[in-house]
Amino acid sequence: MKALVFERNLARFAASRVVSSLAGSGKGVSVAPLRLTDLEAPALRGPGWHRVRPRLAGICGSDLATIDGHSSRYFEDLVSFPFVPGHEIVGVIEESFGANGAIASSALAPGARVVIESVIGCIPRGIDPPCSACAQGRSGGCERVGFGHISPGLQIGYCADTGGGWSNAGLVAHETQLHAVPDELSDEEAVMIEPTACAVHAAIRAEVNPGDTVAVLGAGTLGLTTVAALRSLTEPGALFVGAKHPHQRRLAEELGADTAVPPAQLGRAVRRQSRSLAVSERSHQLTGGADVVVDCVGSAESVTEALSIVRPRGRLVLVGMPGNIRIDLAPLWHRELILTGAYAYGTEELADGTRRTFDLAMEVVARCRLGRLVSARYPLDRFEEALAHAGAAGRRGAVKIVFDLRRAPTGRSDPSTGTTRPAIRVASKPALSLPRRRTRVLTTRPRTRKEATP
């Protein structure tokens, strides 16, 4: 069984950063510490755990940033190496802990098609009592990320113990992370649920009042799903989208944007709509602006643009992950803006009660037929092509690139299959150049964790 494994190798990490800076996003893979290797699925970790074999697994912008060596150092201690990337997953339950019995929900029986809430909160980590966020079901806001009986890792796909989606072998997930997929949804639609859940969460975090002018920067997967979520869950008066590529503008308008324009025109469109002034004729800084701006890019340029087109006391939501960027925060101070992030998903407080973000996302995906955003499928062994395609998705007229793991792996089969080993096989091999990295916080804890794992 094959999987893509990302290892800790600083030299190759730096090399991929250089290559991707020169050759473009997704090209860093040729030198990145990512390789296709033979791998067994991790073992089930206890009651409530299931092994899931992915059917489709998406390539996310954060995966690309990791492979290109551009991810923020903030995450350094929140992941554990080596890991199998991939956290946008639709798969089938292959095995549940305790064989036939002790299954929490009948919907989660072997053979069931599921999508995975990749975020690993307190409950999968076995932390009892859970932190206050997890107790409320907001696993995205978990305060114990990186603790418990699982290696550090924000999500499945960044954690050495769970496996990830870019794998034929499968991964393990806790029952609280699994959602059965209704038969009406195709695999393509189902794989969009996880990114859509992020967008749904962002749309709710945007706190749009009915009639507000809302601007969305960027129209990749996140931007487009955010547009769909904003249109489905809120009532913006005018919804503008700044999108670089023509197909993105077309999709944005299909998914509910009132106007989708090239990024350079977004400021002017917002100015016209809000009847604002600009501080000078050569400046893009508006005196008024949109009530809410949702940044789905996360670059210095996009955040600066967002700061300049949001009205005083307006709300700015960062959905795209900004790394170490340099921006002028004077407008934030002067215009008393509310700047907020929007990460992952969990449970949402709505006017009519609480809902799981994933349930809302399934509705949005079904209603907006978001399966159309899946532009291309690649088998795992063509991962270099897949990542290059994902890195240039906008330019090449694509949105979401996924790995298609539905067919049996091609090529030679691994003779060593059949052995069961804990976690990823290479994990405990000394052949790996670097030892498994622990968080600094972990070193203060008694080193009994390894013994605790079965």
């Binding site: 469109a269 100015r271 009847r275 002034l277 004729e281």
Partner: protein, 528 residues
């Protein structure tokens, strides 16, 4: 040798390629055999003593008006308005006609002891002029005598405290003009009539009017009914202005109109080949053409633009007349026709034109795609008396690079119009519904009043200007233009003239007849 009149050349096998303007560049194109090319008349001899002619005009006014000297007395309020930077094109060498006339008017006023004198640039909804532009038009002497004392003003069509509503015409058109002009004892208007559209009642009724007043004739309906707007007898634009002008007169505003005309000596010595007929080009002309066309092509657009906008035309005054507006303008129009008219028989299937780098609204600025459309379909298309040069259902082929580029300071509302309105519709009758929101946009109002921006509604006017042509034609093709920008305008891009003619024949039928307007220098076609 006396100047030769304009004429129509029929292209034959020996005809050299025809010169086409192409924005900041020049092209030589071979037109199909049998195509007809309209060449402008050669420049008429200018007035030998313009100062003397002006003095004579002021002392012997037309239309029963009293001489200026008699109209002036100490203690009166005198307002002198003058045409703005949109005239003439290209800007003429110093001294400008306005300076020559104004200096004499001011000398008479100083002699008469008139203390209360104000100068107003009659901008209408155009951009404010810059100090160098004012100095160029008026001369340093006038600028230095008036500007430091705050007596050199620029009309503001958006200043409610400075506008007076004089009434409503029989057809319900509001007449609202500059307060100073409306309430002075004498309004002297100093004009340059470059094309037959300029001058007459349009000077005051449009040049000093508010947006509320101007929109009654600057709209799709009026412009579609102006056939052409260069022919004041068949122009709804002019009928409306004349109604307004008469109302202004009846409400007691005394106007002393001074109009001047220019010859067609448009280009300075180094560009002299531009106003010569190709088969008469000397070796020096050919060298100058090669140097200019290659040189302009090889430098960045910014530089070629600044070179060309630096060109000052050696225009000289051919006539000056003063007095009552209508009598003056009748004489002025005769003089314009005497210089510019060229007779041609019959309409063509296809009209071709080479559009130059400058139009009335981009002096010292960028010719954006909307202005390209307006120059071609508004100005060039309408340079006719009788019937259009191209038959109904025919095609126009324009040559211009049409870059997707805008001057952010001069044309801010154009950018939004292009991005937000033309992406919805290019029908002049349809766009009207957006005009109000542009006209009242506080940012455009601010830039118009304090910066150097055209009014928010101005791009709409430009598109209305094209209304007659868009209704008349079945295809507009732009040669060598930016494809995205040309498509946004609703036109068809073509890479070469040959391709454009092929495309045109799809619409007008095979083997089309072609007429080319060899301008500038400007000409006006009398089509029978």
């Amino acid at each position: 040798m006396s100047p030769r009149p304009g004429f129509v050349l029929e292209v034959d096998g020996s005809t050299p390629p025809t010169l086409f303007w192409h924005g900041e560049g020049l092209r030589l194109e071979r037109l199909p055999l049998g195509s007809r090319v309209l060449y402008p008349p050669e420049p008429l001899d200018p007035l030998a003593d313009p100062a003397g002619a002006i003095r004579h005009a002021l002392e012997h006014p037309l239309g029963g008006s009293e001489p200026l000297k008699v109209l002036l007395r100490p203690g009166m309020r005198l307002v002198i308005a003058f045409d703005d930077v949109s005239l003439p094109l290209p800007p003429m060498r110093r001294p400008d006609n306005r300076q020559l006339v104004l200096e004499q008017v001011l000398d008479v006023a100083a002699e008469a002891g008139v203390d209360d004198v104000v100068l107003i640039a009659a901008l209408s909804l155009h951009r404010r002029m810059t100090e160098p532009e004012l100095r160029h038009a008026l001369g340093n002497r006038i600028y230095d005598a008036f500007a430091p004392h705050g007596l050199l003003l620029q009309h503001d069509a958006e200043d409610p405290t400075n506008l007076v509503h004089l009434g409503v015409t029989d057809l319900g058109e509001d007449v609202e003009i500059n307060r100073l002009a409306a309430q002075c004892d004498l309004l002297v208007y100093v004009n340059i009539t470059l094309v037959a559209m300029d001058g007459g009642h349009k000077s005051v009724a449009t040049g000093l009017a508010s947006y509320r007043s101007v929109r009654h004739h600057h709209n799709a309906r009026t412009m579609a009914l102006s056939r052409s707007f260069m022919d004041q007898d068949h122009s709804e634009l002019h009928s409306s202005n004349w109604r307004m002008g008469r109302l202004i007169r009846e409400s007691g505003v005394k106007v002393f109109q001074i109009e001047t005309t220019l010859n067609t000596d448009t280009f300075p010595e180094q560009f002299r080949f531009l106003q010569r007929r190709e088969w008469e080009w000397t070796g020096a002309d050919r060298a100058a053409f090669l140097a200019a066309s290659k040189g302009l092509k090889s430098v960045p657009e910014r530089i070629s633009r600044s070179i060309l906008h630096g060109v000052k035309s050696p225009y000289r005054m051919t006539s000056v007349q003063a007095g009552e507006v209508e009598a003056v303008h009748a004489r002025t129009t005769e003089n314009v026709y005497a210089q510019q008219l060229v007779e041609i028989e019959g309409q063509a299937d296809v009209l071709t034109m080479g559009l130059p780098y400058v139009g009335p609204y981009n002096v010292n600025s960028i010719m954006n795609p909307i202005l390209v459309a307006c120059l071609g379909l508004g100005y060039f298309f309408n340079l006719y008396l009788g019937k259009p040069l191209v038959r109904e259902g025919g095609a126009v082929i324009m040559s211009h690079p049409t870059p997707w580029a805008f001057h952010p300071g001069h044309h801010p509302s154009y950018i939004d119009f292009f991005e937000q309105v033309l992406s919805e519709t290019t029908d002049p009758a349809e766009i009207g519904k957006y005009e109000e929101s542009f006209a009242t946009d506080p940012w455009y109002v601010h830039l118009y009043r304090t910066g150097h921006a055209y009014h928010g509604a101005h791009p709409f006017f430009m598109w209305y200007w094209c209304a007659h042509a868009l209704e008349h034609l079945s295809a507009v093709i732009v040669v060598g233009g930016d494809r995205a920008a040309v498509r946004r305008l609703g036109f068809k891009p073509a890479s070469t003239m040959a391709d454009a003619l092929e495309m045109a024949s799809d619409v007008v039928g095979p083997d089309p007849s072609v007429t080319h307007v060899h301008a500038p220098p400007l000409l006006m076609a009398q089509v029978s």
